[in-house]
Every structure is written in C-alpha cells, then in structure tokens.
C-alpha cells in the first residue's frame, strides 16, 4: 500500500522563554492508506503536535512531511488550508462544535466552507449512522458530551476525507460513553476505508488501532 502520510527526519522545537523544548527530533513516520494508527504518549509528549503537523496547521522546525503527493512545506498557507479542508477530517478532545450552529449545520459546515452544495443527504446519512438523526435542529449546548463527539465524528467524515485525525477523542468522556464513541469512530472509518490517525494516552484506546506508536526521546517508535 502506498504511504498516505510520511515524515522524513521531522524535528519540532518550541521555545519556552529562553529555553528550547524539543518535541520531535528526526522523527520518521509512515501511515498507509486505510490504516488505523494510534500515537500514544503522556500528556505533553507531543501527540497533538504530530497531528497538527500532519494537518498542516503547525510547521516542523526541520524535515519534510508528505501527504499523498503533496510536500506540505512547499505548499502556501492557502494550499495547506485547501488540502486540509478537502482531504482531512478532525475529531477533537473538546468536540469543538460551533455553538451557534445546529447539529445538522455543524456537520454540513466543512462542505459549505468548501462551497459544496447538495451534501445534506450525506450529512443525514452520517447522523443516522452516529445515531443522532432525531437531533438535527438541536444546538450543541443541549447535547451531552458523547452526543457532541458523535456529531464531531459525523462532521469529520462529511467531506469523505482520505485521513481522519482524532486527538484524544474520548479524553473528555466517561468510560462507557468513551467506549461507545470509540467503537463508532472505529467502525465508521474502517467501514468507509478511511485512514485514521489517533492520538491518545490510553492503552485501551490505542489497542483498537492496527499499529501503535509512542513518542520516545522525540522519535516515533
């Protein structure tokens, strides 16, 4: 299988006052199309940084990141935004639904931002799949945490992305809700053949993945 995401000697440093903190150092990563990969590590180990680098919303200090055929470092910010919009979906730890949009509007949002019309049927299908087809007009503040994350999963898939990035998707949910959300995420991505890159601190969550990587000394192993 060809690699969808490739890290070539990626280094990422953050400056904290006068100090320089090395999060990644010459990290290598290769994620194939359709694969489910978990990146595990303690809080602050750099899991979210890896996801942000893949999404192009953060830039490596050195090294190269390739997504499909595109070398992210050679793309303009606008091209990176378009790539992200068209080919990636996001699931965040704090759901990050837009409070002023209803459930259906939240799911439709990525498609609408891309100027695509006629995505309502797909959004309805996804909401049906995540079990929220009866809450279309509800606003996020009326939903439970689990329900909000299910909306976020539907939103991540509405553009039919090649890659879904999930950052601690169960981190803000109780165990039972977390398990059901995880199961849902796993099933909807696998069933539609999507690649899933998952950042988590939990061994149980990581166990669902085809492959588990951890960040040690700035490297993905």
């Amino acid at each position: 299988m060809p690699a969808l995401v490739q890290f070539d000697r990626v280094t990422k440093d953050y400056s904290e006052g006068q100090e320089l903190r090395h999060v990644l150092k010459d990290a290598e990563l290769s994620v194939s199309e359709g694969e489910v990969v978990a990146i595990r590590g303690r809080s602050g180990s750099g899991k979210s940084t890896v996801l942000n680098l893949v999404a192009g919303i953060d830039q490596p200090t050195s090294g190269e990141i390739v997504f499909g055929e595109a070398v992210l470092g050679r793309l303009s910010p606008r091209e990176r935004t378009l790539l992200r919009r068209d080919q990636m979906g996001f699931v965040f730890q704090f759901f990050n639904l837009i409070p002023t949009l209803s459930v259906l509007e939240n799911v439709l949002l990525p498609a609408e931002l891309a100027g695509l019309r006629g995505q309502r049927r797909r959004a309805l299908e996804l909401l049906e799949r995540v079990g929220l087809s009866d809450r279309l007009g509800t606003f996020p503040d009326r939903l439970s945490g689990g329900e909000q994350q299910r909306v976020a999963i539907a939103r991540a898939l509405v553009r039919d992305p090649r890659l879904v990035l999930a950052d601690e998707p169960t981190g803000n949910l109780d165990d039972a809700t977390g398990a059901s959300v995880l199961e849902l995420l796993d099933s909807v991505t696998r069933r539609s053949g999507k690649t899933l890159l998952l950042a988590t601190h939990s061994r149980e969550v990581a166990a669902l993945a085809d492959r588990e990587l951890t960040i040690e000394g700035g490297r993905l192993v």
Partner: protein, 848 residues
Amino acid sequence: MIPNALLRTGLRDLVRRPLHTALMILGVALGVAVVVAIDLANSAARIGFARSTEAVAGRATHQVRGGPAGLPEQVYRQLRVEHGVRPSAPVVEGVVTALDLGRQPLRVLGIDPLAEAPFRSHLGEGSIADADFAAFFTDPAAVLVGAAFAERHGLAPGSPLRVQAGDRRETLRVLGLVDTGDPESRRTLDGLLLLDVAAAQRLLGMPGRLSHVDLILKQPARDLAFIAGLLPPSARLVPANEQAKTVAQLTAAFELNLTALSLLALVVGMFLVYNTVLFGVVQRRAIFGTLRTLGTTPGQLFRLILAETLLTAAVGATLGVGLGYVLGQSAVRLVTRTINDLYYVVSVSGAPLTAATAVKGVVMGLGAAFLAALAPALEAARVEPVTALRPSTFETRARRLVPVLAACGGVLAVLGATAIALATRSLLASFAGLFAVVLGIALAAPAFTVGLMSVLRPAASRLLGPVGRLATGTVARAVSRTGVAAAALMVAVSVTIGVSVMIASFRATVANWLELTLQADIYVSAPSPGGARTAVPLSEDTAARVAAVPGVAEVETVRIVHVPSPLGEVQLAVSDATRTRSAALYRVSEGDPQETWKRVRAGAVLVSEPFAFRHAVPERGGSVTLHADHGFVTFPVAGIYYDYATEQGTVLMAREVYERHWDDHARSSVAAYVAPGHDPAAVTDAVRRALAGHALRVVENRALRRQALRIFDRTFAVTEALRVLAVVVAFIGVWSALLALQVERTRELGTLLALGLLPRQLWALTLLETGLIGLAAGLLSLPTGLALAVILIEVINVRSFGWTMPLQLPPLVLVQALAISVLAALLAAVYPVRRLQRMSVAAALRQE
C-alpha cells in the same frame, strides 16, 4: 473581606491582561476627563465673573443705581455732602476692547481714590509702583493695571494701551501697576483698568453720569428707608450683589446643558467598563469555578470583581482628572467665547484645577465604574463549581435576561417620557427624563439585536452560506456582549442624530428669522466687547450722518438698554421703526402686524418668546412692569415675537414711548434702507466714508447675517466637540467588546480554520459580525435619535431658553448615522482579525 490570596489573583489578573485593564482605565479616564473639562470651563467662567464683580463691588453692601443712561453725579454729591451719607463712593463702570491684547474685553472701573479706601483695596492696601499719583487725577488717559496682568502682557509704567470704547478708539497710558500681596486680590485685578471717575466718564461717553454709588450700610434696617427717601425717582437703592445674582442666573441653563452632555460621555464610558469587566468574568469562569470548589464564597467573588474594578477605575479617574485639566484649557476658551457672545463679558485666563472638581471627577468615575461592574460582579458571584466549566451557561442566562431587560427598558422609557410631560418647567426633570428614555431604549438594544438577527438569518444564509449563518448566529447567541456593544454604539449615534437634527433645525430657524428680521440694507454699530448685553451707545449724530448719505432712503435706530423691573433686570430694545414687519415674526399678536405696531407706538410693548416663557407672560392680556425714570410703569403686551438673539428675553418698545418714560436719547445701532436704483455696496462705502473718524462697524445685510450664523456655529462648538467625544468613547467600547468576543471565540475560530475556513472567509465572517452589530445599533439609533431630537427641540430648548422651532430633518443625517454605526463597527473588527491571523491555528485550538 477579601482574602489576600484572592485579592492577589485579582491583581495579577489585571497585570496579566494589560490590554483589557488599559481599556477599562481608558473608559473611565475619557468619561471623567469630559466631565472635569466641562466643570472646569463652567466654574472658570463663573469664578471669572465673580472676581470681576468682586473687583467692582468690593465691600459695598448696597448701591444706588440709575436708569439706562446712568445716575446723575449730583445724586452722589447730595448724598455725601448734603446728607452726610458715608462711607459712599462714586463708580463709573464699563467694558472696552483691548485692541493690541488679542481684542480681549477689559473692565473699566472709574473711582474716586479719596473715597475708595473703605470699599476696595486696589489702591489703599496695595502698593502702586512708580506712579505719579497726581497724574491719576489730571491725565484723562492715565490708567492703573494689575501687576500680574501687566507682566503677562508686557506692560510697564508708560506703556500705551490702545482700546476701543464705543465707537471711538483711544490710547490710554499705563500710569502704574497695582499689586497686593494677597494672591486672591491679585486675581480680581486681572483684566481691570482703574481710572479716575472723570477719566472713565470721558472714556465711556458718560459725561456727568455715574454707573452707581457704592454704600456700606452698617444698620440697613434703619438706613435703607432714610436713603431711599433722599433719592430721585429714577434712582434705586439695591443690595450690591443683585446684579451678580441676575447675571449668574442667565448662564444656569447653558451650564446645565453642557453638564448633561458631559455626563453622557460618562454613561457611554460605563458601557465600556461593563464590557471589559464582563469579559474578565467570562474569561475567568473556569478559575472562579475552581475557586468556588476550593471554598470561595459568592460574596467574596462579588467583592473581588468590585475591588478590581474600583482599583482600575481609580487609576482611570486620576488620569481622567489630568486629561480633563488639559481638555479644560480648550473647553474654557470655547465656553467663555460663547458666554461673551451671548451673556456677559468675562475675561478668563485659564481654568485652574480645584480640589472640588478633582474630587467630583474621581467620585463620579468611581461611581460610574461601580454601577457598571455590578452586573458582571453578580454574574461572578453566581458561578457554581459545576457550571463553571460549561461555557454556554452565561450566554444562556444572558439570553433569558434579554426580554426582561427589554421590558425594564420599556418601563424606564415610559417613566422618562412621563417625567418630561409632567414636569413642564423643570429643566433638571426634563434631563432626567431624557436620560431615562435613552437608557430605556438602550436596555432594549439586546432584544432588538437578537430579533434583527433572526430576521436576517435566512437571507444571510442564502446569500453568504455558512459565513452568513455563523455571523448572525454568533451575534444573536453572544448577546451579553454583542447586545451591549450595540447599545453603547446606539447611544452614541443617536446622540449624534439628536444633536445634529437639533442644531440643523435651530440653524435653519435662525437663518430664516435673520432673513425676516434683517430687512435693512446696511447696519451701523459700535464693535462691542461682548454680545447683546454690552451694546454700546453711538455718538449722537451718527443716525443723522447716515441718513444724509446720498442713496440712503430711510434709517431706523435701535437702543439696547437694561432696566430694572420686579422680575429682575430686563433687556429693553427700543426701536423707532416705521416699516411693518413680516407676520411670520410674531408667534402671537393682536391683529395684523401693522395694527400690532400701531399699538406699540401707542404705548404697548412686544415681548420675545424667551421672555414670555421665563416670566410666564400669557398669550393674551399680559403686561410688563418696568422701572422708568419716574418710577414703575406697567405696559400692556401687544404680542409675542420670535427672537433668537438672546435667551434671557427682550422687551421691545417704540422710541416715542421710551423717551416719554426715560431720559435717554442714545442709539446703539442704525439700520439704513438703500433707495431703489442705488447699489447697496456703493452706498455702504459712502456710509463708511461719512462716518470716517469713528471706529464703527458698517456692514451690509448679507455680511451681518453671515456673521450672526458664524456666532451661532461658534456657540455650538462645545456641543460638537462633546458629541465627537461620545462617539470616540463608544467606538472604543465596540472595539473592546469585539475584541473580547473574538478572544473568547479563539478556539471556535481555530476550529473553523482547522476545518478549512480561508483567511478571506475569516475576514468576511468577522466583518459581517461586527457590521451586523453596527447595523443593529444604526437602525435602532434612527428612531432613538429622532426621539432625542424631538425632546431636545420641543422640551429641553424650550425649557432652557424658551425658544420654539420647527424640526428640520436633513435626510443625510440619518444616512450618515447608519454609515457611522456600520463603519465604526467594521473598523473595530480590524485589530481582532489581525490578531487572530497572527495566531497559529494550533495555538488557537489549545485556547481554553
């Protein structure tokens, strides 16, 4: 009490959020600065007048005053020499213009040094340096001036001092400098020229006449009746402070209007404080939740917010006092110029900051900040340990409050309108009602904003897709700050509309009135140091000289004097006009204008609209009693006429009637009609040539109208400045609200960016949001501004000055108001968007 640890978190928070702390300081500082500046200007003018009055009146307890032409000097001689009334001193008083000292008005005080000592210490206790004292009696051009005044203007003994007195220019000579050790007395000498009585009589054109005789009555109960019995009918014995009191009352309404406008800036500043404090509370919700979990009581959080606010406000108020002092120096120039134009002559060299003004500014700033912080402090106190982590709690509660606020606003507006309707003469109640109406509508602004968004949402969604939907949704759901921003902007813009419409209506009315009033082609008068109250007499032959100029068909004259009456001092305009005036000049008249003027020539008088309002003269059957040379005379009122020249009101009388009751034949101005076929400009030049040698102002009709309108515009300069300041404060308010909103939504916007929102879409979204707030404010400000205009024109103007005028609505004002609202809101979005653009999406997503 607030535990130290809690206080530390609050103080550190103020330091860690410098922008917001600065905004709050700015809000209070600007509000306080405007209030302090106006207070300084008002009190500087008041103090200036009090000092000049004190300089003239000194320790006199009573004065003997005469009619318009003054008091015959024999009265003084008889009192002092024949009847032994002492201490007594003659005084000749007037105003001249200093031609080489920026044309500033100087008060002339003609005194008899030998009788002066008990009254004024200018000569007795002070030291007259380098003065050849005998010359004070013998040299008619010799004057003494205050040492500080001389130093400021580079004058020394021997210096020439060119002045304009009436229609003559004179060169006086500084004989010596008067100085006293006491700084207060030194100030009373500012702008004062001391002359011998005879020299002052010559300078002011009052031969054989005195302005008044000063007396110190040790036993007034016994002496008053005795002295009154010695006086001729034309003279009156009055308390020495009578005139000062009358004059101070004149400017009361003017001062109140300015104070009300300055308070408005403070109210708009309160919105800014509210927004900033609320933002601090909303942003620290999670921290407060933790603090509550750790055992902090709601009361402690409430006090913490108030303490933070008061501390910041104290800094703002202190800065505001300093800024107000700086602004006050400009405001005092504008205010004294208006007072000089309209009321009385006052010379003010600066506006010193008094402790009273500073304390007032600080207390008002702290009070305003305290009131503005109450609601956010209550919100902080309500934070529950559990709900603290739920971000939408506050907005949900705020949304529930919106209809309640609107209902309260409605009740407040109705109460305000009722107060205005019921208190038919009280200006203070009218202003309170006006504030209640505006505040009431402001309270309804959040509901209006939410309603407008739900109306616009479908169209915005259809036209602009998710950006339209997001923008309308955000504005409606973040109503705790968007609604308040809209309210602040609405108040400022509606004030702009209200004041602009009022000024435009006033200006159009005055322009129309000038056209109706100024019918003659050429006007001749002596340049007066002040406005209407200081109209100076012309030389006796001026009217005859003008009438003799070829091309002049007819002349009319006017004499402006001030005569006593049971109502206080009354301005009397005496006219010898024979031409019939337009019927449009009369608000009420019996019969046609010709008939009315016939009645006036037969012995009736006309009163101006402000006079009728001030003294409750009925529309029919009224009368006015005036003190003439031979005692009190009652004149029937034949009509009420429109007059926008003076707000204190005027009684208009025919010359033949005036001369029957007063021994005064002087004229204050001459109006000439050019005969048909003659060029008015050429005739004007001929009049100038005929009057060569007299320092008279000869102007054509058009120039006089232009000049009158220029004074009108000058009068409203302070109003305009205050209006601009209110808009500036509101703009900062909207800016801070938007900034707060964008900061609060950083993670939400970060999510949007992560989901593929392009930078131009971010711009579009933010500009649309702020534009919608501006639109809501603009739309609501139109009816509010018009209501404000109606109240200003129909109520405040009438109750302040007695002037009525039709409302004129320049259509551009409304378009401008809407444009200002939207533009201010759009401009306010620039910084927040740029800030977001600089922030990385990853960082935005990490924001709590």
